[in-house]
Amino acid sequence: MEIAEELARKQRSISVAEFFEKNKHLLGFDSPTRGIITTVKEAVDNALDACEEAGVLPDIFVQVRKISDDVFRIGVEDNGPGIVPEQIPPVFGKLLYGSRFHQIKQSRGQQGIGISAAILYAQLTTGMPAVIISRTDARKKAHRFELMIKTEANEPDVRSRQQVDWDRPHGTRVEIEFKSTLAAKKRLLEYLRYTSVVNPHARITADIDGEISTFERVSAEAIPCPKAIQPHPHGIELGTLKRMLSAQESMTLEVFLVENFSRVGKQVAREICEKARLSGEQKISMLQPADQKRLLSAMQSVQIPAPPASVCLSPIGEDLIRRSMDKEFSLDFVAARTRPSSVYSGHPFVVEAAIGYGGKLNADDKALILRFANRVPLLYQPGACAITNTIAGVNWKLYNISQQTLPAGPIIILVHVASTNVPFTSESKDAIASIPEIEREIGLGLKDLGRELKLFLSRRDKKRVADDRARAICAVIPEIAIKVGEIVEKPAPDTQAIEGKIMRKVIAKRRTVNGTVQIEVNNYTSQPLSLKIYDFSPDAATDALPKPAFSEKSGDEYTRVWNCELAAGGTWTARYGGRGPGHLDLQGIEEKQKVVMDLDV
């Protein structure tokens, strides 16, 4: 026997399930720690996608329960449309089976691998079947399946199937038992929090081994489900075109173009044919390989409008982003941009960006960066991601934000890329590849937001400048006057004139001199005013002159209130014996018209 024949006997087909069983890391199951996050993520992605397709407000429940030292039972339950019983085995028990791979529209899951892979790895480590409960209608019972996967065949292996009662009128529940750890609990909660930020219409409740966290929805409106579109002529490769041609051999070329591509009407189709030097009337079965190449090149060079993004994409929207960010981080400033849709290699996409400032954020940190693709948070490999790199490429100093590669300060930056085909750098979907069109859109969005943030910061700074000037005039200049008087050996000049001329506000000063507290209020505005003057201090001040209209002790401190009618240019003073530090306030005048100064500090 020839060697070649001997070798031939060993050749075998390999099932895709076998392949992925051996290559766990490809799908994010390389470590038990990460496996738990990947499993939850795949199940939640499916749940959100299903709710979206059914137009339901998602109400998702995530449960992680410890079974033994290293075994955890993960359950994810939604109120989606449910899955018809016949589809449950292939959907959960077969890799590369799903509804979204061939559809051109924004969705979270795409390959039909995620949840089946989770079930595959679970059965590999614990040998336990997955449990699926699903109900499609309140009038019907729920179905409960126990499922495994026949690895050699990549086919579902149904271990049991029964009808059961279930408290949800419709929805799906998956349960998987996994060898894992809870080391990444923080990251898991982070994933759920960020998921809720970009899915403001979803309520997510998590029960992580008894510890409950709820991420409430900020919007009670279900988001419209994106609809699939035809491929765009700019976005296909020769191999795909050939395939499409051979599937519909009896059509004429013009009809083929019009019916199979988005944005191609008769006018455009004719233009393409002309450019390719082909007749629109000929049957496509007649096209020679050289014709096909010319056709492709014509399709890609003719001007064609961008694909209809509004149909197939579902951005979150500026208002909802602002609200969800504010909910999670209580910000001083937040702005969001949803960019107009754009296109790369024929794939439509929309970039959304938001910037938040202040609030609970730490001023000493680097900016917090939240990356999302099709409403799914990206948790790993920030350094490899176009979002991170574009943020680093913006000159933040232009917007008065300090920057060391990445911007720094109490800042949060959110970027969401929605597309019919998000270009991930790897199948584990951790980072977005560097596509110039996408980077350009992210950059434009961020710069726009940067300008808005700068405006906010400069307004804040202006207020600071005004305060600074008030301190100079009301606190320091009087001291200069005293010292200068001493030098020239004359009485110190009165600095009230300066105060009035420059400030045109109401100025209240509080000062303690030799055991006497002096309060002075000057009305430098052009209006007579009715003021309430509040003074807080530990002094009883029974000798106060004039007598306060009100005086009360609360805790260790007294509160005194005087009412005072003050003409334009008028001055009001009060004094009492005391030495404690205190605090002054005015009512009856706008905040920006008032200056309160503690001269004891």
């Binding site: 606190a475 200068v484 004359k490 000049p493």
Partner: protein, 364 residues
């Protein structure tokens, strides 16, 4: 000027500043001062006095921010302190002043730099040297050796000294305040200002002061104000030529520039401190080439400094442009003492006589 005269001039100047503020405040204005901006770009050559001074650019400092107001407050405190010092005939160093402000509450100085800068402001405003404020520099004075006689008024009475006969081999130590020194007479033909102590001692050992009738001044690196004042005073009083002898590197050229044209930091004092007639004798970059002196490679910092000098108005002459470009091309620098490689007498027997003749200081 005698000490009394100086005091009589200083007091009204300082009080005038305070009076200005007083008047401003009386009129309901925010007190302010007006100062020239102190950068390389704002120094200009004054044809009349032949020195570089601050130019037209001024900045207004009004007490309308907390920072500026506190700056003026500090200035007021300092003026009051100086007034008291002059009245009591006391003096202090800038460092002491810094510590004295400790008790000034809001007017307390945060750093030593702050007091230095503030005193410079006062010098500019009053057109007086800090010595007039009874403030002593911390810096080390230089030494002088050569055929010249001077009188120093000290607290213990006047001293008359001849700088060859009445001093040790290290020479006469210049006091901090040159205003108390008067030069009486001399038998010299020139003044040589020398950067390093080694070369100063070499010229003394080789008897250059006697043979060539030269007054030797040891600059001790970047010269202190009192040293520059001394060169100015000798040159002004006796019209003696002054030559500057330094290492051959960019930092040393700045020493020459500060002697001849004044330093950027003290451009407001240039008329008193600079000696525009001073000439640079060496080490010239062309000497490194012509005498094949032992040398070091220029560092990047050196090259950067040379390039900065090309943009400095004080070096904007054909001579300097040529020498600096030559040095950048050579990529080398040499020290004064590198002449020792050609023997200990080379510098006094050959180099200096040749250069002095070239420059017209020594006739043939």
């Amino acid at each position: 000027m005698s000490k009394k005269d100086l005091d009589a001039r200083a007091l009204p100047q300082l009080l005038g500043i305070a009076q200005g503020w007083y008047d401003q405040m009386k009129q309901g204005e925010i007190p302010s001062i007006r100062l020239p901006t102190r950068t390389k770009l704002n120094i200009a050559f004054d044809e009349a006095s032949e020195v570089w001074k601050y130019g037209e650019k001024e900045s207004l400092r009004a007490a309308n921010t907390e920072k500026s107001a506190i700056h003026l407050l500090k200035m007021a405190y300092v003026i009051a302190f100086i007034k008291q010092q002059i009245r009591e005939d006391r003096s202090s160093t800038l460092r002491e002043l810094y510590y004295i402000t400790e008790g000034w509450k809001r007017a307390k100085f945060e750093t030593q730099d702050e007091s230095n800068y503030l005193i410079e402001d006062l010098e500019i405003l009053s057109d007086l040297q800090r010595e007039a404020f009874h403030l002593r520099p911390e810096e080390d004075g230089a030494s002088i050796f050569g055929p010249i006689r001077l009188k120093e008024s000290t607290r213990r009475g006047d001293r008359v000294l001849h700088c060859q006969d009445d001093v040790g081999e290290a020479g006469y130590q210049i006091p901090n305040n040159m205003e108390s020194v008067e030069f009486l007479d001399h038998e010299a033909k020139m003044v040589i200002a020398i950067e390093t102590g080694g070369m100063y001692a070499r010229l003394i050992e080789n008897g250059f002061d006697r043979e060539e009738k030269a007054i030797l001044v040891h600059l001790k690196g970047q010269p202190a104000r009192s040293t520059r004042r001394l060169l100015h005073m000798i040159n002004e009083k006796f019209q003696l030529p002054v030559v500057v002898f330094t290492d051959g590197d960019p930092w040393s050229y700045r020493i020459f520039a500060s002697v001849a044209y004044g330093a950027i930091k003290s451009a407001h004092m240039s008329e008193l401190l600079a000696t525009p007639q001073a000439q640079f004798i060496g080490v010239q970059p062309s000497d490194i080439r012509d005498y094949n002196l032992p040398s070091d490679k220029l560092s990047q910092q050196d090259v950067d400094a040379l390039k900065a000098e090309l943009t400095d108005p004080r070096f904007n002459t054909d001579y300097w442009k040529q020498q600096i470009h030559l040095q950048i091309d050579l990529g080398l620098k040499s020290e004064q003492q590198a002449f020792a490689a050609r023997g200990l007498d080379f510098v006094t027997r050959e180099y200096l006589p040749r250069r002095l003749a070239e420059m017209g200081v020594l006739k043939g």
